[in-house]
């Protein structure tokens, strides 16, 4: 599979955020990398200082603001932009893409398409017709079919410090998985395979909900018992929701499910965790969002998941309660009290 000729071709990364920069650096160990940033200031800063968002950029990374030339030069592209901008980015990129391209994205959020004039509050029902994972967006918006995703416990800062970590590359195509593995693997970074693309995407997206809740518990000063309870019940809820939305159980038990869940739920570094933590400390959602540098995907995920679950007549307890905290003014303390009183006793019913 590896041929000499190919190694001259650079790999593309779209999105120079935190995670995008880290992935670009990891890829740069093996290949030349083109890193696309929407903002030309970011490009010039990287060129000048070799730094971006606090990360020292690898010499193999070249920043660019030209999508067309990136698509022309790279056969393999990693789009890593927030879910809210993902479709718009794909629409811009799509004219330059060919069926030979391979796209492996690293975005953990949902895409939402609403009829004109509707907002998520006004729309009556929300189903999988309107809610799409990123790979589905890629398939809808471009001719690319060889699509995959990255997911797993990948906290940007730890990766940047070259601490040991792992990721899953998921795709129905072995070719995509092997390409992803070859490009990403190094002695500090393990890469696992999974053919269930949508399952892995859902695991990555849904864990953000639980991460917010976990931050909330810490914010209230609760300890490890509470967290153990949350993580295990949270995992059950993820499996439950995942099935409703079209994944199967297995993906949730792996690196992208439990692995990512445990990492984010214990990490003050995670944005979603921070949201929950600060809410518990009494700040409002608006205050928190105003001074965050990058989006916490979990907030939107809670909103979309709650509405979508309603359509499928599913009752995700943690998600629904969290929704009340985020958007209906319930306090974190009340939410915990409510959950603790809720009569539920079956531990596991899906294996």
């Amino acid at each position: 599979m590896t041929s000499k000729s190919s190694s001259d071709k650079p790999v593309g990364v779209i999105g120079a955020g935190n995670f995008g920069s880290v992935i670009a650096n990891i890829l740069a160990n093996n290949r030349k990398v083109l890193l696309y940033a929407r903002d030309e200031k970011v490009v010039s800063t990287i060129l000048k200082t070799r730094k971006n968002r606090g990360h020292e950029m690898h010499p193999n990374v070249t920043p660019t603001d030209d999508l067309e030339s990136l698509a022309r030069q790279c056969d393999v592209i990693f789009p890593i932009v927030p879910s809210a901008h993902f479709r718009a980015m794909m629409k811009k990129l799509s004219p330059y893409l060919h069926p030979y391209h391979i796209l492996i994205h690293g975005t953990k959020g949902f895409d939402l398409q609403l009829p004109k004039g509707e907002t998520i509050e006004t729309v009556k029902t929300l189903s999988r017709e309107q809610v799409k994972t990123m790979s589905e967006v890629i398939l809808e918006e471009s001719v690319v079919v060889r699509v995959g995703c990255l997911a797993g416990p990948n906290l940007s800062r730890e990766l940047a410090q070259r601490q040991p970590g792992a990721t899953v590359v998921a795709s129905p195509f072995q070719e995509v998985i092997q390409t992803g593995k070859r490009l990403l693997r190094n002695e500090r970074f393990q890469v696992y395979e999974n053919p269930d693309l949508v399952g892995v995407e859902l695991a990555g997206v849904l864990k953000n909900i639980i991460a917010i809740a976990s931050g909330g518990l810490s914010g209230l000063g609760y300890g490890e018992n509470a967290k153990g309870l949350l993580i295990s019940r949270g995992a059950v809820e993820m499996v439950y929701l995942g099935r409703v939305l079209g994944g199967n159980t297995k993906a949730f038990l792996g690196v992208a499910g439990i692995g990512d869940l445990v990492a984010t739920c214990n990490s003050p570094m995670s944005r979603n965790y921070t949201v929950g933590y600060r809410l518990a400390k009494g700040e409002t959602l608006q205050q928190i969002m105003d001074d965050m540098q990058e989006v916490a995907e979990g907030i939107n995920t809670v909103r979309i998941t709650k509405k979508c679950a309603e359509y499928y007549k599913a009752r995700p307890l943690i998600t629904d309660t969290l929704y009340k905290v985020l958007f209906e003014g319930m306090t974190v303390q009340d939410a915990v009290d409510y959950l603790m009183r809720y009569p539920l006793n079956v531990d596991i019913d899906f294996v």
């Binding site: 000729s5 190919s6 060919h98 069926p99 030979y100 809808e140 001719v143 195509f173 070719e175």
Partner: protein, 565 residues
């Protein structure tokens, strides 16, 4: 009974796109039959060796094959089976046993020979014989008798049988992308994939292909059809190849796929029913068999692999739906379906219809006003993209794309089985979507759907089986109530048509009472027990709930249920 008038076909006749039969790819294949079969055999053997690389595995495969074949001969014998079947497999079994006493080298050689013998035998069995003079003869006979029957039956006077007032075209409507199909057949190789509801499909589609001026297609028809001797004669001369669904052993399946693959690569237009077998439930196929479909993908990749330039011949997949008011086998099909539902079993391939039944059916078909329409879909490339009239693949926004690039890794066309399996799955799901879009809703489908759903709604506590066991006498819908619901659902179908999600026959439109009457008169028209009719008091009643369920199923999958009640 009135004829349900469709919009008159503008295109009264199509000229053949190729002048003489000698130019037809299928004729070329059949002229070089021996070389062709040998090529299929060699390539199939290569494929089998790839799948069973070690000698031990190959030996096991051969033993399994013999075991299954002998079992089939014992349990499920058909008239078409070769006379020497039992003898042949007994001998192969013997040879396999004797391998034990041979030296490794000798044994390997012998194994190879046996495999060759078996695969070649299968290839010969699969291959159709296309014979131009018997093709012409069969074609004329079919046309002649169809037209005689039609005229004799329509006008109730002796002597009318010699008139030419009605032609088959009045009976069978071909709608959709006919011109495009004709163009594509000149530009590249067409793989036509129709839905499969009735044994009549094979003959019908053969007539359609001829009548729109295309050269004969090779097509995979169930071997069981060859049991019926008139079928057998016509199909053999129309270029059919035989698919024996009783044989599920590896050498057979690989030979079958390779036959289709090589034929497509050689430019022979092909046709197969990707649903594999007739739809038992009456639903439009949702799950397609990937085996034969994958041969189109593989053949296209091979063509790209072998031709570096831009002149690579393209393969076009053309979905087709056949729309009937009446399916002869409906009562048996639905019974099969209900029996095995929920149990993971294969349908036993049986056939209860001999030549006599078939002629009887044909007569009924021509004497009563039951029309058939054939919807031809837009051409797709092997990835399921639409193509334009020139055969260029288009992306969702109408830009031309180079389909070769789907098979490329690092600037080269590569062979990747796993990738192609995935592509086949994608193609299959595209074909299913297209079926739903080009499906033509008849008034008879809609009355069946509405009535069944309305009744089902009245018994929310019963599961399907419980519901189907209700005595038919208990079921009655006041006509006005029925009309109201029919109107609502029909409106929804109009809306979906606007969105390009389905099509409907022109006879569905117009006055409500007339549309309903047409539907009631035609739904399952020749069954002894009518699935739906009006009682003396005007209410809607049924005589056979199972069969009603069958016709109702035609409209399942459009999410129309929510407009009932």
């Amino acid at each position: 009974m009135e004829i349900l008038e469709e919009k008159k076909n503008k295109n009264i006749g199509y000229k053949p796109i190729l002048d003489g039969i000698p130019d037809w790819p299928v004729y070329q294949l059949s002229k070089n039959r021996k070389e062709f079969l040998e090529e299929v055999t060699q390539k199939a053997m290569e494929q089998i060796r790839l799948l069973r690389p070690s000698r031990k595995q190959l030996l096991e495969e051969l033993e399994t094959t013999v075991f299954r074949e002998q079992n089939r001969i014992k349990r499920n014998r058909w008239r078409v089976d070769p006379k020497d079947d039992a003898r042949f497999w007994a001998r192969v079994k013997n040879d396999l046993i004797e391998l034990g006493s041979k030296s490794a080298e000798e044994a390997a050689k012998k194994e190879e020979d046996l495999l060759h013998e078996i695969v070649l035998r299968y290839a010969k069995e699969i291959a159709g014989t296309f014979n131009p003079s018997s093709y012409r003869f069969a074609r004329e006979v079919i046309k002649f008798w169809f037209v005689r029957l039609l005229n004799g039956a329509r006008v109730k006077k002796f002597g009318a049988i010699f008139r030419n007032r009605y032609s088959l075209r009045d009976k069978i409507h071909i709608v959709g992308k006919v011109k495009m199909l004709r163009r594509l057949a000149k530009k590249g190789t067409v793989v036509m994939v129709p839905t499969h509801f009735s044994n009549l499909d094979s003959i019908l589609i053969g007539w359609v292909i001829h009548s729109i001026g295309l050269p004969a297609f090779i097509y995979g028809a169930g071997l069981n059809l060859f049991n019926i001797s008139i079928f057998s004669y016509f199909m053999n001369s129309l270029g059919a190849f035989k698919v024996d669904r009783r044989k599920k052993n590896l050498p057979y399946l690989e030979t079958l796929k390779m036959y289709s693959n090589v034929a497509i690569q050689k430019g022979a237009h092909s046709l197969f029913f990707p649903g594999g077998t007739r739809s038992r439930s009456g639903r439009i196929e949702k799950q397609l068999k990937l085996g034969l479909l994958s041969t189109a993908v593989e053949a296209q990749r091979n063509i790209y692999l072998e031709s570096e330039g831009t002149d690579a011949r393209k393969i076009f997949v053309v979905p087709v739906t056949l729309n009937y008011h009446f399916v002869l086998e409906a009562p048996d099909l639905i019974e099969d379906y209900l029996q095995v539902k929920g149990q993971d079993r294969y349908f036993v391939e049986e056939d209860n219809y001999g030549s006599f039944q078939f002629i009887k059916f044909l007569f009924k078909f021509f004497t009563k006003g039951s029309n058939i329409s054939v919807s031809i879909g837009r051409g797709l490339d092997v990835m399921g993209n639409y193509v334009d009239d020139e055969g260029n693949s288009l992306d969702a926004s109408g830009r031309i794309i180079n389909a070769r690039e789907y098979f490329m890794t690092e600037q080269k066309v590569t062979v990747d089985k796993q990738r192609e399996n995935e592509y086949t799955r994608m193609l299959a799901s595209r074909v299913v979507t297209e079926y739903h879009r080009i499906n033509r809703v008849f008034a008879s489908h809609l009355v069946a759907f509405v009535a069944f759903e309305m009744w089902l709604r009245k018994y929310p506590r019963l599961d399907l089986f419980g519901f189907l066991r209700l005595p038919e006498e208990d079921l009655e819908i006041p006509y006005d109530e029925f009309k109201e619901t029919f109107k609502k659902v029909r409106k929804e179908i109009y809306r979906m048509k606007e969105e390009g999600k389905v099509r409907h026959a022109t006879h569905l439109k117009g006055d409500l009472d007339v549309a309903i009457r047409r539907g009631l008169e035609n739904v399952g028209i020749f069954h002894v027990k009518r699935p739906l009719l009006r009682a003396r008091n005007g209410n809607i009643i049924t005589q056979d709930l199972n069969v009603l369920y069958y016709y109702h199923n035609r409209l399942v999958g459009y999410d129309l249920e929510k407009f009932i009640g």
